[in-house]
């Protein structure tokens, strides 16, 4: 599946392959992980792949997790720093190998797979009567994005149109998720440079956004909100009013909290010029979401591939230096744009029910079809693809979390940086381990 963002098109191509094919990675670096996964899952060999290592270590008979040949730089002064799988903070698990010359990182290799739970395998043969709770845990902080993508697939395959009202409530949940995560991460970046005011304010504000999701559906992570055809919970005018007020207040506080960063030269000095991801590298690695936009690539699925019943995003926020400072500023801009979007949605919710009429049809999927859903979550573009067999069951269900594209971008951004810059770079990307490992 290929997407043409400019024309807003999706292109499907297929080919017969045997047990091997000439690797495309040397020409198109963005495919490096896809080829590795195909090899790991189906033993289809990409001949000439420069980097053929396990991705998720999902074969009990194969190498144990983290057992692979790491890239190594030799030399008297060169040393290696190994971090993880368990990290120092309250954070998911993965292994990082730094090749350092003194404090300078020459090379970082990231080895994941610790969080492999076999989600895709659990989905094959479905749809499970209740597929959504499982999808909601693909990446817990992107519950709305993944649930939205899954619903879009199910609706496409069952030829149901989502309720326009439900679709707008979903969009609201997606933006609240973006606001919570952007706010939280800006706070964490401030915390990493030891600038506590913004860190403390944003820590609180992140919770305020989450609590708005909880007002909507009872869960701070939008759990249980999405159902095929619409949403399980509706918004009455009173609740819409309360939420609007809260959005306005929280957005104002975010502005107040983050402005402190822009006005503190000591903080800006720490963020500027660190962890640069040049546009050309971002493009060739296929980086998506805020890191891509911070490097000047105007990629946003909300604009190029708007979802049914929702207007296309008017303006994509972009920056150009591609450093930690830009990634921070970009997320701030996006958060404010997102708050404005929430207010608009709350102002003009379409009338009608929040669920589609014909519920019973929803799990009767068209046989022998392929469906694709693209949703711009806070971390970037979430892509779900499903293929049905002749009975309308999933022959395959494949999930691409934005992290899958972006981990390589983070590894690149760390080259020639100080090892102490890692937390900052890491926070400015804030990628998902379980979304990658599935």
């Amino acid at each position: 599946m290929l997407a043409d963002d400019v024309a807003g098109l999706l292109l499907a191509a297929r080919t017969e392959i045997g047990s091997s094919y000439p690797s495309l990675t040397p020409d198109i670096a963005a495919l490096h992980l896809f080829e590795r996964v195909l090899y790991e899952k189906f033993a289809i060999l990409p001949e000439g792949h420069p980097w053929l290592k396990p991705v998720r270590f999902d074969n009990p008979a194969g190498p144990g997790v983290g057992e692979m040949n790491f890239y190594r730089i030799d030399g008297d002064e060169v040393h290696e720093v190994a971090v993880g799988p368990i990290h120092a903070g309250v954070i998911e698990c993965g292994h990082f190998r730094f090749q350092c010359l003194g404090e300078e990182v020459l090379y970082l290799e990231i080895s994941l797979g610790y969080h492999h739970r076999g989600v895709e395998a659990m989905l094959t043969g479905g749809p499970l009567a209740r597929i959504l709770p499982l999808i909601e845990t693909v990446a817990g902080d992107s519950t709305a994005a993944h649930a939205f993508a899954c619903c879009t697939l199910l609706e496409g395959l069952s030829e149901t149109l989502p309720s326009p009202r439900g679709q707008h409530i979903r969009a609201l949940a997606l933006e609240l998720e973006r606001l919570a995560c952007h706010t939280g991460d800006i706070g964490a970046i401030a915390g990493d440079v030891g600038f506590l005011p913004t860190s403390a304010f944003c820590g609180r504000l992140r919770g305020d956004w989450l609590n708005m999701s909880a007002m909507l559906c009872g869960s701070r992570f939008s759990r249980g909100l999405f159902v095929s055809g619409g949403t399980a919970f509706d918004l009455d005018p009173a609740l819409a009013h309360v939420l609007t007020d809260k959005v306005v207040l929280a957005a104002r506080d975010v502005q107040g909290a983050v402005r402190l960063i822009w006005n503190s030269p000591s903080v800006m000095a720490r963020l500027t010029g660190i962890g640069v991801l040049p546009a050309s590298v971002a493009a060739s690695l296929g980086v998506v979401g805020p890191p891509a936009r911070a490097s000047g690539l105007a990629r946003d699925a909300r604009r190029s591939h708007p979802l049914p019943c929702l207007p296309a995003l008017e303006k994509i926020c972009v920056a150009d230096r591609g450093d930690v400072g830009d990634r921070t500023a970009l997320r701030y801009d996006e958060a404010l744009a997102s708050a404005a979007l929430c207010q608009n949605i709350l102002k003009d919710l379409p009338a009608g029910g929040c669920r589609a009429e014909k519920q019973e049809k929803i799990y009767a999927l068209a046989p022998k079809h392929i469906a694709v859903a693209l949703v711009e979550g806070w971390r970037g573009e979430v892509c779900h693809v499903a293929l049905t067999d002749e009975f309308g069951h999933f022959a395959a269900y494949s999930i691409v979390d934005p992290s899958f594209h972006n981990w390589a971008g983070l590894a690149y951004a760390l080259r020639r940086q100080q090892i102490s810059d890692f937390p900052l770079c890491n926070k400015s990307f804030n990628l998902s381990y379980c979304g990658h490992d599935l």
Partner: protein
């Protein structure tokens, strides 16, 4: 500098009143479930809830439903399926127990609240799940949290947690992390997250602990000085949650905390609300929380 003070002045103090007073939870919050024995019997032991549960958290025990909160993700499907509205989700956030079996909810007699606002005041059912408005208030007996007294004494004033994510999705982790912010300010009770297992008294474990995380988890546990405990946070860590796979081949079974490190405290939820977790930590340390 002046601007920082000004902003601090404008944003005010935001630490929640909980646990000094009851937490403010949204009306749609799905907390501890309650099964009304009379209403359930009136439905003649239909198995609507058992069939409705996507994760087999409800089983049949002598023709009566038994809901295991250790597996439940609080989706509310079962409450919607119940024709008698015998099964409701109350807004009670106190879900944790040191007794794994106490997490199983069985039909019980409905008790009306003694006095509004005071001790034993009832809690509403979560709104927004069923069509009819449930006006009843529910009083639920406290689930047992009995920390071994010597442990409580040892940890009372300083309880250090090492958080280990054994393939959690990030939601439990996020709502644990939030306990460290100014909102919950867990540090005021002497509870903190630490970076090294060497400094930790407990592991706050999240995630179903699939094969690829087990060795790291056990290494971390082994690195901790005794006395040490495991706290299972969330359905995944308690039972494997949605990823539960007990059938052989054994290396691929997923059932939450592995047998080598049995949790001493179980905090249900998907993910547990920060108030649920804080309440559990405090009661585990023999500190009082509001009823």
């Amino acid at each position: 500098m002046f601007e920082i003070f000004l902003e601090r002045f404008r944003q005010k103090t935001r630490t929640v009143a909980f646990p000094a007073s009851l937490p403010a939870l949204p009306p749609r919050f799905r907390g501890r479930p309650f099964i009304d024995a009379d209403r359930c019997a009136a439905a003649g032991g239909c198995c609507s809830c058992v069939a409705a549960c996507p994760w087999h958290a409800i089983s049949f025990e002598n023709t009566k439903p038994a809901l295991d909160m250790g597996m439940c993700i609080f989706c509310g499907e079962c409450a919607c399926a119940c024709p008698q509205r015998a099964l409701v989700f109350t807004t009670d956030w106190r879900l944790a127990s040191t007794d794994r079996d106490a997490l199983v909810v069985r039909p019980a007699a409905y008790a009306s609240p003694r006095q509004p606002g005071g001790q034993g005041a009832g809690l509403r059912a979560s709104s927004g799940l069923a069509d009819d408005d449930d006006e009843r208030l529910y009083v639920l007996p406290e689930l047992p949290i009995t920390s071994v007294t010597s442990l409580a004494a040892a940890f009372a004033r300083s309880f250090r947690l090492r958080q280990v994510t054994a393939a959690g999705c990030g939601a439990c982790e996020a709502d644990l992390n939030v306990l460290g912010t100014v909102v919950y300010d867990m540090g005021r009770f002497g509870i903190d997250f630490v970076a090294s297992p060497r400094h930790a008294d407990a592991i706050a474990l999240t995630g179903p602990a699939p094969r690829n995380m087990r060795a790291a988890l056990l290494d971390c546990y082994a690195a901790m000085p005794a006395p040490k405990v495991i706290i299972a946070v969330g359905a995944c860590a308690i039972s494997g949650g949605m990823f539960r796979r007990v059938a052989p081949p054994a290396p691929d079974s997923i059932q939450g905390a592995p047998p080598q490190c049995r949790p001493a405290l179980f905090i249900p939820g998907c993910p547990p609300h920060p108030c649920t977790t804080l309440d559990a930590f405090l009661r585990f340390l023999d500190q009082r929380t509001p009823r």
